[in-house]
Symmetry: C2
């Protein structure tokens, strides 16, 4: 009698969260120092001190102003700060009217899908992919179409995307730096993608949106992350401060509708309408003020870079294969068993908790999140060694 | 090509917000002190000092703990605090598992509708009603069915609700203390409603949920607000701290699935699934900690009570008719023109900005929000007088 699909979404839970819950229970049994939980994407780097300083400053405002409703799209000063920051970094000319503040990346994406999708449409995701994409795409009424990444480099396989485009394709989701693999799509790849999308638009006489999900934009290890709307005009950028400012619980992010969109004004209204329809009134007001002050505070990538080096060197020495990550804070490690779930279960016997790649729509790998303490990585090495030996 | 319904929701805007925007523009022209904006439900009472004190206390926590993801349903301590507070006040036995923390009342309602509704269902609202109900009900796939309140007292017309119940009725929404009228539904009325719903459940062999939207529960002027799940078991309670703690911009509230629900466990999962599907990851983490500390901080009703007395006495002396409000912070005033929109436009000529009742699905009245400064009410009286005179 209730909605069976919502019940299923609630009862199944996210497999990543299930692993984390298992880890927490196990830690209570044998001590947290003996469980190596690499499952979550919860930043291990603390929010920069500027965040709490901005909160304290905001507390001096009259409470009715500080805690009151903001416009649905956000405080003008906040949207202006975001646009100005983007313009400085990417040489663009965005204004506050292009920015819609959201309750984090999940809201950015669910509002974007809801804004552009009509029932029966298709939305393409690149497998492996963040599993919640499927939930939001299906909730918007579209079909989630998986297109595999290159099976060796895990770069975007433009030919495979081109082959999957149909008259029903409404959007393609790209996520670079990528969760779970850590690849960054280069300008050349994105340009070929843009050509393929434009060709399909002409062939089918349709409009295809590129949804660029960029929560890891600032978490890179030397790689340059191209500005996607500069390559393909009909792009919507979804962002969150969960990773760059380590604020995942506070739920603050934005949707950018770049002025390169041919239907810019209608799209801006549709994003606002979707936010209204899904039950988002405004982004949390205190954290909109934090963003005004912290929009240009750099992400602390050094700790992740150190963890990355430590984990890569350690696993390489033990004979593990992995994709060298250019960004984000995950290592994509080849399972020692063709069945990633079986490999995960074996790893768990050694108190290692990566996430099997089946969760991301792809077999044979595990995701090892290195947004953990350095100590966890160091102490896990004996377990990784024992796990490898158990397969010899 | 984009979603036309979302575009319409975004382009049309809320008529209440449109009036407020007109008021702001007018204030810039002639001075804020000369515009009497009674349109919004933005609390004029500041958040109690305990809120900012709780924020400062929370800032002492490790940032990764303070600003990190919480479980989707909320921090266990927060859910426990809410359940304990309800148990103390209503003699119930709820546990943290019955409470799902949300991003405010809009999220509470959109998640509840999405959780229980299947496409083609009907959801009954009592007109006049908060206009966003229709948006969330339609977005969940149901039809919004309006049932008029008693045309004189604006109490719930149980016979009218009973007559509107069909085999497709999935839920009935009650909002007491009521926005826009200020009535509080008594136990006797709710008991008759419960009997009607149970009879319809037997007649149609269906389940009908009572969705009790209660953001104004604490804003009352002597009236007792019955605990709805005590009267009808299949009730879901939607709450927000926007009004009681004056935190509308921070987006914090909850859904309670009382243990009186026959399908309690499935419903809890469905609410969680709906929150996931709509793009809510968790309620803002800092404000979950604020609620732990402030769950029992009393709402400051005195200022609203003073405004209410001032506005009622003033308008009564001028010959206006209105419904004596028992709760919330709105006065429901009879328009001096059968066409409420025409009356609103005439009022606007006198710089008075109430909301015409057409926005709430009902003709012939205006809503005058008294969540404004005392000064605004006092100075508006000459305008109300001139408006009344213009009709003589």
């Amino acid at each position: 009698m209730i909605n069976e699909q919502m019940y299923a979404y609630g009862a199944q839970k996210s497999s990543i969260r299930e692993i984390a819950a298992w880890g927490a229970a196990r830690a209570a049994q044998i001590g947290a120092e003996n469980v190596f939980d690499f499952s979550l994407g919860n930043p291990s780097v603390p929010a920069p001190p500027q965040v709490n300083e901005a909160i304290v400053r905001a507390l001096a405002l009259p409470p009715t102003e500080l805690h009151g409703y903001t416009p649905a799209a956000g405080l003008p000063a906040c949207r202006e700060a975001v646009a100005t920051s983007l313009n400085r970094r990417f040489g663009t000319g965005y204004g506050p009217g292009d920015v819609f503040m959201t309750v984090g990346a999940a809201a950015s994406l669910s509002c974007t899908f809801k804004a552009v999708v009509n029932p029966g449409d298709e939305v393409i995701v690149i497998a492996p992919y963040f599993p919640e994409y499927r939930v939001w795409i299906e909730t918007s009424g579209a079909t989630c179409v998986e297109v595999p990444a290159d099976p060796v480099t895990f770069d975007l396989d433009v030919d495979a995307v081109a082959a999957a485009l149909t008259a029903r394709t409404k959007a393609v989701v790209v996520n670079s730096p990528n969760n779970p693999v850590g690849v960054v799509y280069g300008t050349e790849t994105l340009t070929r993608l843009a050509v393929a999308l434009e060709e399909a638009e002409r062939t089918f006489d349709t409009s295809i949106y590129l949804v660029s999900d960029e929560p890891y934009r600032e978490i890179v290890y030397g790689a340059e992350v191209p500005w996607v709307p500069g390559v393909y005009g009909r792009t919507v950028v979804c962002y969150s401060y969960s990773k760059s400012l380590s604020l995942p619980g506070e739920r603050i992010g934005w949707v950018l509708v770049p002025d390169t969109n041919p239907d810019h004004d209608e799209l801006v209204d549709a994003v606002a309408g979707a936010a209204r329809a899904l039950g988002f009134v405004c982004a949390p007001s205190l954290f909109q003020r934090v963003i005004v002050d912290c929009v240009d505070v750099p992400a602390d990538v050094a700790a992740y870079a150190e963890n990355r080096a430590l984990l890569c060197e350690g696993l390489k020495a033990l004979g593990y294969e992995y994709v060298e990550p250019q960004g984000a804070f995950y290592l994509w490690v080849k399972a020692l068993d063709p069945d990633a779930q079986a490999f995960f279960e074996r790893a768990r016997e050694f108190e290692l908790l990566p996430v099997p790649s089946d969760s991301f729509g792809c077999g044979g790998w595990v995701r090892v999140g290195y947004c953990v303490s350095r100590d966890t990585i160091e102490r896990s090495m004996a377990a990784w060694e024992a796990l490898a030996k158990s397969y010899r």
